[in-house]
């Protein structure tokens, strides 16, 4: 846990090399063709979503079961702004992040008053409330049919209708969230979140207003999920109520646990593992979720630190760095 949990201990040169390798790797993805590029973009979008959830689960110790709300609200904001108001997807993207943060602040304000299972139930209930709203408010959301007709914006003259452009935009968002979370976790604010996860009572006795920082974490995680949701809307140009369903919150939890809670990069592996399973296995059998379930159970039983934790334990080079 500590290897990825304390990125500041990594020597600057190795750190720079890792970033350069990552950026170069991502830059090359569109060469692999449209199918793989699309899948890779999806993995990165859900990696952002899972990383943002891990800020709550893995770093603040808040098991939220309603994280789809923030992803979904942002995606809806982008598409609704575009379809109903004719606003550019970029304006929608920025607005979506703000709306997600606002909704997270409101839901968080009520939810953090309780903890444990009641917290989990409350966050899920709020998310389901938004899900119902998206189904019933057909005039705005298109209900279960979803809302189509969104025109993707362009960037420096390059239309996001192009798969490669889409991917690069998503990759920039992903790199930003990865960079930000690594900085955050090593920072004073991040250390407060970790302290709350470790020992809430002692944090209060040490003079920290714990409730306030839980809300800060919840709102931040909501805004980051909003980045994922906005990118989802920009690349899919379509949104339907599935995106607010509790099942998506559940998927995100599976991704976090598969990859490794309390690590920054872990949820990225979790997202990749989950979506690869979904895409590869579902082309062979419609019971793909059964296989995800079995692998999840095995992971919880034998890879307690997730895929990333398992890798870290087996690659001494990574552990040392």
């Amino acid at each position: 846990m500590s290897a990825a949990g304390e990125p500041s201990t990594r020597p600057p040169l190795r750190n720079a090399i890792a970033w350069v390798a990552l950026v170069a790797g991502l830059a090359l993805v569109p060469l692999t063709g449209s199918y793989v590029t699309g899948l890779a973009a999806e993995i990165l979008i859900f990696a952002i979503f899972a990383m943002s959830l891990d800020l709550l689960i893995g770093y603040t110790g808040l098991l939220s079961f309603g994280h789809a709300a923030f992803f979904g609200v942002s995606a809806y904001t982008v598409v609704i702004f575009g379809v109903h108001l004719g606003l550019s997807g970029w304006i929608g993207f920025v607005a979506g992040i703000f709306v997600s943060a606002l909704v997270a602040a409101i839901i968080g304000f009520f939810s953090i008053r309780v903890s444990g299972i009641p917290f989990l139930m409350l966050t899920m209930a709020f998310a389901q409330l938004l899900f119902s709203l998206s189904i019933k408010w057909r005039a705005v959301t298109g209900g279960t049919d979803g809302l189509a007709g969104f025109q993707r914006p362009s960037l420096f003259g390059l239309s996001l209708d192009n798969r490669a452009t889409q991917f690069y935009v998503v990759a920039v968002g992903f790199l930003f969230v990865l960079w930000f979370l690594r900085r955050l976790i090593a920072s004073p604010l991040g250390s407060i979140f970790i302290g709350i996860r470790e020992n809430e009572g002692r944090m209060r006795a040490a003079g920290y207003p714990v409730q306030r920082f839980k809300l800060v974490s919840f709102t931040l995680a909501g805004a980051l999920a909003g980045i994922g949701g906005g990118l989802y809307a920009l690349s899919n140009a379509f949104v339907s109520s599935d995106i607010l369903h509790w099942a998506l919150s559940g998927d995100a939890i599976i991704m976090v646990i598969l990859g490794g809670t309390g690590t920054i990069i872990g949820p990225v592996f979790g997202s990749a593992a989950f979506l690869l399973l979904k895409n590869v296995v579902s082309s062979h059998t419609e019971y793909w979720l059964l296989w995800v379930g079995i692998i999840f159970i095995l992971c919880v039983m034998f890879l307690r630190q997730g895929v990333w934790g398992w890798l870290v334990a087996r690659l001494p080079a990574i552990r040392k760095s």
Partner: protein, 247 residues
């Protein structure tokens, strides 16, 4: 000057009264021991002083400011520090980080989110200073869970000291310690800043009589006696209900 003062403090859980009309004073520089048999309400009293428990009636004053209705985190910021009877640490974090986190609580920078904590060398050095005060100087990068029990008791005090309290509440600092560890804990408490007011719950009479200026005896939530160590030693009531058991 009185640092911490309670005025007719009273706490009841239904019909069970754990604190009954307790008025006591801890002055600047005073080492005040709180003794009494198990179930006398010592820890409940400390919980009320530190804000973890709300008294049913009565007031608590810190330097004549009424703090009865403040939260634990506010009391810490105002200057009431405490340790816990059972080690209450950040177990997965390093020894230094435990103290750095507690120091940071008083220093602000709470919302700094892009700069690494490790780049604040001054705070790291201060953490090492506080740890040296409780005689922890080696292996500060180790996880707390690898420390011995006695070292964890020392760290418990370091975390409380890090918030620079005016008055420190020690809840059985030597509980579970070997005689040798107890002796070094006595030295440690003796070496704490002279101006600090200390209220200490303790069962070990050796610790009590070698440190305390004042002793208050609690019995079923009530103050049975309060005075100098000599006065308490000679108090017939105290001998009867408490000291007689151990001596």
């Amino acid at each position: 000057m009185s640092l911490l003062r309670t005025d007719a403090l009273h706490k009841a859980f239904g019909s069970l009264v754990v604190t009954k009309n307790v008025s006591l004073v801890v002055n600047e520089g005073e080492r005040h021991a709180l003794i009494g048999p198990n179930g006398a309400g010592k820890t409940s009293l400390v919980h009320q002083l530190a804000g973890q428990l709300q008294p049913t009636s009565g007031r608590i004053f810190l330097r004549d400011k009424d703090v009865t209705d403040t939260l634990p985190e506010e009391r810490c910021q105002l200057g009431i520090g405490r340790t816990f009877q059972k080690n209450n640490l950040f177990r997965a974090l390093s020894v230094r980080e435990n103290v750095r986190l507690a120091l940071q609580s008083k220093r602000g920078h709470w919302y700094e989110c892009l700069r690494a904590t490790s780049s604040n060398r001054k705070l790291m050095a201060e953490a090492d200073d506080v740890l040296a005060q409780v005689r922890l100087t080696d292996g500060l990068d180790r996880a707390v869970s690898t420390l011995s029990y006695g070292e964890q008791r020392q760290l418990e005090i370091a975390i409380a000291l890090a918030s620079q309290p005016a008055v420190l509440l020690l809840d059985e600092p030597t509980s579970g310690m070997s005689p040798a560890e107890t002796d070094s804990m006595i030295d440690l408490v003796r070496s704490l800043p002279a101006k600090l007011g200390i209220l200490m719950i303790e069962h070990d009479m050796k610790v009590v009589f070698s440190l305390a200026h004042t002793i208050t005896v609690l019995y079923y939530g009530e103050v049975l006696a309060s005075g100098t160590p000599d006065a308490i030693r000679d108090n017939a009531k105290v001998r009867d209900v408490y000291l007689g058991l151990g001596h």
